[in-house]
């Protein structure tokens, strides 16, 4: 069960022609897939398309009614490989994943798929995780499209355009026997809007039909000598077919006046940003009617030289608006113009920075600089003058950074608290990290981890640190998501085969948690359509690991510390695998809270646990926070002139996970923490005992109070 449920929203997927569909970009994409007769869908979760996977998962009933197969793939490679169903059969298929990282993983399948080509439309919906809000290294997916020769659509970021791109994507793919990438950026995935719906179209051929009527065509298999003919086919047949389709269907759009001295070429995804800059310069109206001609590339690969040369004809200068680097488009357009012998000057790098997201302010600065240089006559008087820049506030030293971190109650927090204590005992170690929530360990307060090189690659990235005569071992972390994605073979298998002596900690929180809590093989939950509850321990043992320790309650900091210490000091050779398992707190809360609330309402005995700090015992050193970082554990200033430092304090958001108490115990911090279990709807026995205890305690307290001075505020 994923973090966000789309159960309500997916009902909209049933609407037919004549209805206006309202919702987020990802929901619109799903609807467009159904309207275009898709036969199977799949993918791997990850921002910004996690919700697309969640929507598909929640829409399984509707998909089933239409005869569409849904696959929650084990990895992007598996997702991309599944498009092989469109090689011999006229079935449309679509898969989605985060990019560029997902495309990295999928690239083996992508290259082979692209070699033989496809018969049914094959669509890769790549969520370009670039710019603000991104969680990965900053790269472009574009090079993958070029090297494997798959076409890339980059539609304008509004619902009518993206849904049209889905249709064109399938048709272009079929017209040119080539897989097509549909690129959507972070904000485009979450943009809200509306479009006119059409009726859903059941796939003309389903995967069931194909299975029962298998076909093969030897010439489509990527093995020499076919691979040589595939390469020829790509440039002599598929490319011209694609260009023909793109031109005939006018996929790229031209806006604004036919004649002008300057123009702008932009990626479709950049269109709104370009228009906003022109609007602010008074060169376009509210509805996008522009005075500066724009050639909008809804298809960024392949480029259409004829269209580009015509657009640039008669212009003094054209601005290339291209996000990210290398500047593939700018270089290609420049070469085209040079070959055509034109005199139009191509501008891009210069008004725009060499790298980075084209934010609103950068777009405005870039376009106004270009217009100032080449189109000053078009600028209204106000736009020509450079106003004084707004004052830069002096808050840099005041406002603290706020990086993401572990949630309240996160079961991974105590693992890293234990790791920090182990390092205090045994000294610093080389620690390799992986991808997932556990990577927050590299931030304060834990500051643990040296590298992260890919999903499921944590232990593999420590592979070289295998020196049996060294008196220290490497430690590597990997999540359950990474483990099943890639880690089982690439990290564990590699360690077993090479007799790696390091310690591997597998952080098992029952979900692919960082991407939104999707189920995976080892999830404990029953899943109606997927097979879960396959223990990681069995898989690790099956790979041949001899030293395995399973921890079933990570909040037991002392135990985690002892197990890690044992792993680092044991004489046993080979990889030492610690599986630290506790359920993701976000998911656990979402599961348990309604159940508990209902039980309490029904008058059932319910115990609610929370933690607290005795403010007169806390001395305000905050050692507990340096081993926790829990959002609900903060500090507060007391109304006591004798105290200098704020004391620790736990707020109402505490979920009673117990980490702070465990840490105070394991690290021998202080006796300030207490655990309060409030018994709702107590039974007769609870009440009787409570009365007896209160009687005795109350009497003794009164006796002592009678013999001492009592200050009302102490």
């Amino acid at each position: 069960m994923a973090e966000r449920s789309f159960a309500k929203e997916v009902q909209q997927l049933r609407v037919g022609a004549g209805t206006t569909f309202r919702g987020e970009g990802i929901l619109a994409i799903t609807k467009a897939l159904l309207e275009n007769g898709v036969g199977y869908v799949g993918g791997y979760q990850g921002a910004p398309i996690s919700h697309l996977m969640d929507v598909l998962a929640d829409a399984q009933e509707i998909l089933g009614e239409l005869g569409v197969h849904f696959e929650a793939n084990a990895s992007e490679a598996a997702a991309c490989a599944s498009l092989a169903a469109s090689v011999h059969y006229p079935i449309r298929g679509a898969v989605t994943f985060k990019s560029a990282v997902g495309t990295n993983v999928a690239s083996d399948a992508l290259a082979n798929l692209a070699s033989g080509g496809v018969k049914g439309g094959a669509l890769l919906i790549v969520g370009e995780d670039y710019g603000e809000g991104s969680s990965i290294m900053q790269e472009r997916s574009y090079a993958f499209a070029m090297k494997s020769q798959v076409w890339m659509l980059d539609p304008r970021p509004n619902l009518p355009s993206i849904t049209a791109a889905v249709r064109h994507g399938f048709e272009l793919s079929e017209a040119s026997n080539t897989p097509v990438m549909l690129q959507v950026r972070i904000r485009c995935c979450h943009v809200t809007g509306e479009f006119e719906a059409k009726d859903n179209l059941p796939p003309p051929m389903t995967v069931k039909d194909a299975l029962e009527n298998p076909r093969r065509d030897h010439s489509r298999v990527a093995l020499p000598p076919s691979t040589y003919s595939h390469e020829q086919e790509k440039v002599h047949q598929r490319w011209p077919d694609a260009v023909k389709y793109i031109r005939e269907n006018k996929l790229n759009e031209v806006f604004g006046p036919e004649k002008a001295r300057v123009g702008i070429i932009c990626q479709g995804g950049m269109y709104n940003g370009v228009i906003r800059a022109l609007q602010r310069l008074g060169l376009a109206d509210m509805y996008g009617e522009t005075q500066v001609p724009i050639y909008c590339l809804n298809v960024t690969y392949p480029l259409i030289p004829e269209e580009i040369v015509v657009f640039c004809g008669g212009k003094d200068a054209v601005l290339m608006v291209e996000e990210g680097q290398p500047k593939h488009l700018e270089e290609a357009v420049g070469a085209m113009l040079y070959r055509a012998g034109g005199t139009c000057k191509l501008v891009g790098d210069g008004p725009f920075p060499k790298a980075g997201e084209l934010t609103g302010q950068i777009m405005l600065a870039g376009i106004s600089s270009f217009m100032g240089d080449y189109g000053a006559a078009m600028l209204p008087p106000e736009g020509r003058a450079s106003n004084a820049p707004p004052p830069v506030p002096v808050l840099t030293d005041v406002v603290p950074p706020r990086p993401p971190s572990f949630c309240t109650g996160c079961p991974e927090r105590p693992i890293f608290a234990a790791a920090k204590l182990v390092e205090q005992d045994l000294g610093p170690h080389h620690i390799a990290c992986d991808i997932g929530c556990h990577l927050f360990s590299i931030n304060a307060p834990f500051d643990i981890g040296a590298t992260t090189v890919g999903y499921g690659l944590g232990p593999a990235s420590a592979a070289a640190f295998n020196a049996p005569d060294a008196n220290r071992r490497s430690i590597s972390f990997m999540g359950d998501g990474g483990f099943w994605h890639n880690g089982l073979a690439t990290s564990i298998g590699n360690a077993v085969f090479n007799q790696n002596d390091g310690v591997i900690v597998i952080v098992d929180n029952y979900y692919s948690a960082a991407t939104g809590g999707q189920d995976i093989l080892s999830s404990r939950a029953e899943n109606a359509t997927k097979s879960t509850q396959h223990p990681i321990r069995d898989a690790v043992a099956g790979m041949g690991v001899k030293w395995i320790r399973q921890i079933d309650r990570t909040y037991d900091v002392g135990k985690v510390r002892a197990v890690m210490t044992e792993a680092l000091t044991t004489k046993v050779k080979g990889p030492k695998v610690v599986i630290a398992s506790s359920e993701c707190s976000l998911n656990k809360q979402r599961r348990e809270r309604p159940i508990k609330a209902a039980a309490e309402k029904d008058g059932k005995r319910v115990v609610a646990t929370r933690f607290g700090v005795d403010e007169d015992i806390c001395t305000g050193d905050h050692a507990c926070i340096r081993l926790s970082g829990c959002p609900s554990l903060s500090v507060k200033k007391l109304d006591d002139p004798l105290r200098d430092d704020p004391v620790a304090s736990i707020d109402q958001t505490c979920v009673g996970c117990g980490n702070c108490g465990e840490v105070a115990d394991a690290a021998v911090l202080c006796p300030s923490f207490y655990q309060a279990d409030i018994v709702h709807n107590p039974n007769a026995w609870d009440r009787w005992w409570d009365r007896q205890r209160r009687k005795v305690i109350g009497r003794l307290q009164a006796r002592r109070d009678a013999k001492r001075l009592r200050f009302s505020h102490l």
Partner: protein, 507 residues
């Protein structure tokens, strides 16, 4: 922030004047998405075309998040909306936390000619502020001052308290504040209809909406400042003979300079509450030794003597945890009423050091000097102990430990603490440079915590005080000692302190 300076900001020619641009800056988990959906609904119901975007991703895990909405009156044409907020181009900026308002201003999302800033004055402290061994909290004053200059209008209120007071969350009270601000042309009832249509927790959301609406109308709730003068001096309750003893102590305080009296009374209360009236007399004996000094010295002496005398030992912890007043405070904190059944578990981890400190000084010293005995004792006691203090067995065991209070002055820990106090206080007294003496007093702040933390504090204190001989000859010695102390409070291991000490070495 270089980007801002690069902009050729156009003036007057903007064709998006008819578009309302609204950004929400929040901390992941605050419900920014819910607020965004509500605003989108209101705009749609109010006859607007609206577009919302967000960067849902890793920042949702407690990081700084941003949501962006554009809207324009509905016509036959589709406006082209931007997908991200731009510097100098925001009409309404909603900040769900005080420092996020600061971040919005730093990013240029608040401008004097057009932006209404709706911001909550409450703080969600960042980890960087919380983990400092001293007080690392950022100062809210510059942020609020900046808003005065940078916003067209700033609506400040503790919208978090407004929401939690209604059993809801901040998205609802901020929605109310937006309605109250009058920046969008929609009636209050339209906002409330949207909440009603949204499903769960409607009553609580509506209450929080109203609280936010009223809060925004009422305006600023001043950010709390600590009172300089101690408050709440009261006469204690107790048996007549003890009250008599207390009166005598009060009379001695009356003889101190006026400025020193309030803090001395607070110190006295703390010390008497910690031990007894006689201990209070000891406190005043110490304080009166500084009678010749100036008021500044006396104030600090009154404060830090009280803290030094009330060291944290087993007896104090047991005493505090078994009092009736503790039960009242705990129930208050946990939102449990008087009759509710609350099971309370304490997390203890005593070591031999703490236990031996509770032995009579002679015996304790004997054991402490013998490593093997200490080791044996540690083996016996050093482990985590969960004690149920609502239960009789746990409560009684603590009650018995706290019953050792009358013997405290004969115990090893007291001997150690008294000797340390004597050394520290004499050192402060003997400084001819009174400012330096005051700084020596203030170094007592470094000693806090229990077990390892306490040891680390002591070591920092020793390192800071150890620099005194190198400083004594200097005119600015007091300032240097202050700097060393502040450095010591910056990080756990004292790395900043070591750096400062190296600097002193080069003087």
């Amino acid at each position: 922030m270089n980007e801002i300076a690069d902009i050729l900001a156009p003036a007057g020619s903007d064709t998006t004047a008819g578009v309302t641009k609204l950004a929400i800056m929040a901390v992941g988990g605050q419900g920014g998405g819910v607020l965004t959906n509500w605003i989108t609904e209101v705009a749609q119901k109010g006859g607007y075309r609206v577009q919302a975007t967000s960067v849902a991703g890793v920042a949702q895990r407690t990081g700084a998040t941003i949501y962006y909405i554009e809207m324009a009156p509905r016509t036959d044409h589709l406006p082209v909306f931007a997908l991200a907020p731009s510097t100098g181009d925001i009409d309404i900026l909603i900040a769900a936390e005080l420092m996020e308002a600061g971040r919005a201003m730093m990013r240029g999302f608040v401008s004097a000619d057009r932006t209404t800033l709706i911001a909550s004055t409450h703080r969600v402290l960042a980890i960087e502020e919380k983990l400092v061994p001293g007080d690392g909290r950022a100062d809210p004053a510059p942020v609020m001052a900046q808003a005065k200059e940078q916003a067209l209008r700033a609506v400040w209120h503790d919208f978090d308290a407004a929401a939690t007071g209604s059993g809801s969350v901040i998205s609802a009270s901020l929605f109310g504040a937006l309605a109250a601000s009058g920046t969008l042309p929609f009636e209050r009832t339209l906002y409330e209809d949207v909440i009603r249509a949204s499903g769960r927790g409607i009553e609580a959301s509506l209450a929080a909406f109203a609280a936010g609406y009223d809060g925004a109308t009422a305006g600023v709730s001043e950010v709390e400042n600590m009172p300089d003068i101690p408050s709440g001096i009261t006469t204690p309750d107790g048996p007549a003979d003890l009250i008599g003893g207390w009166r005598a102590l009060e009379a001695r305080v009356e003889k101190l300079p006026e400025a020193v009296r309030p803090i001395s009374l607070r110190g006295l209360e703390k010390v008497v509450d910690y031990q007894d009236v006689a201990y209070g007399s000891d406190y005043l004996d110490h304080l009166e030794k500084a009678r010749e000094k100036g008021g500044g010295f006396l104030v600090e002496a009154a404060k830090y003597l009280a803290n030094a005398m009330c060291y944290d030992d087993l007896i104090r912890v047991a005493d505090l945890k078994t009092r009736a007043s503790r039960d009242v405070r705990l129930r208050n904190e946990q939102g449990a009423d008087r009759d509710a059944i609350v099971h309370v578990t304490e997390y203890f981890h005593p070591r031999a050091e703490e236990v031996v400190g509770a032995f009579p000084a002679g015996l304790g010293g004997f054991i402490e000097r013998r490593g093997s005995l200490m080791k044996a004792l540690d083996w016996l006691v050093n482990r985590g102990r969960r004690v149920r203090t609502d239960g009789l067995r746990g409560w009684l065991s603590l009650w018995m430990v706290s019953g050792m209070k009358p013997f405290r002055r004969r115990l090893l820990r007291h001997k150690i603490e008294a000797e340390h106090l004597e050394r520290w206080y004499s050192l402060a007294l003997e400084q001819s440079d009174e400012a330096l003496g005051i700084e020596v007093l203030k170094c007592r702040r470094l000693i806090k915590g229990y077990s390892d933390t306490h040891a680390r504090g002591l070591s920092k204190y020793d390192r800071v005080i150890g620099a005194l001989p190198d400083l004594a000859e200097r005119d600015d010695a007091a300032d240097w000692l202050r700097r060393l102390r502040e450095a010591a409070l910056q990080d756990e291991q004292g790395d900043a302190l070591d750096g400062a000490l190296r600097t002193i070495g080069t003087l």
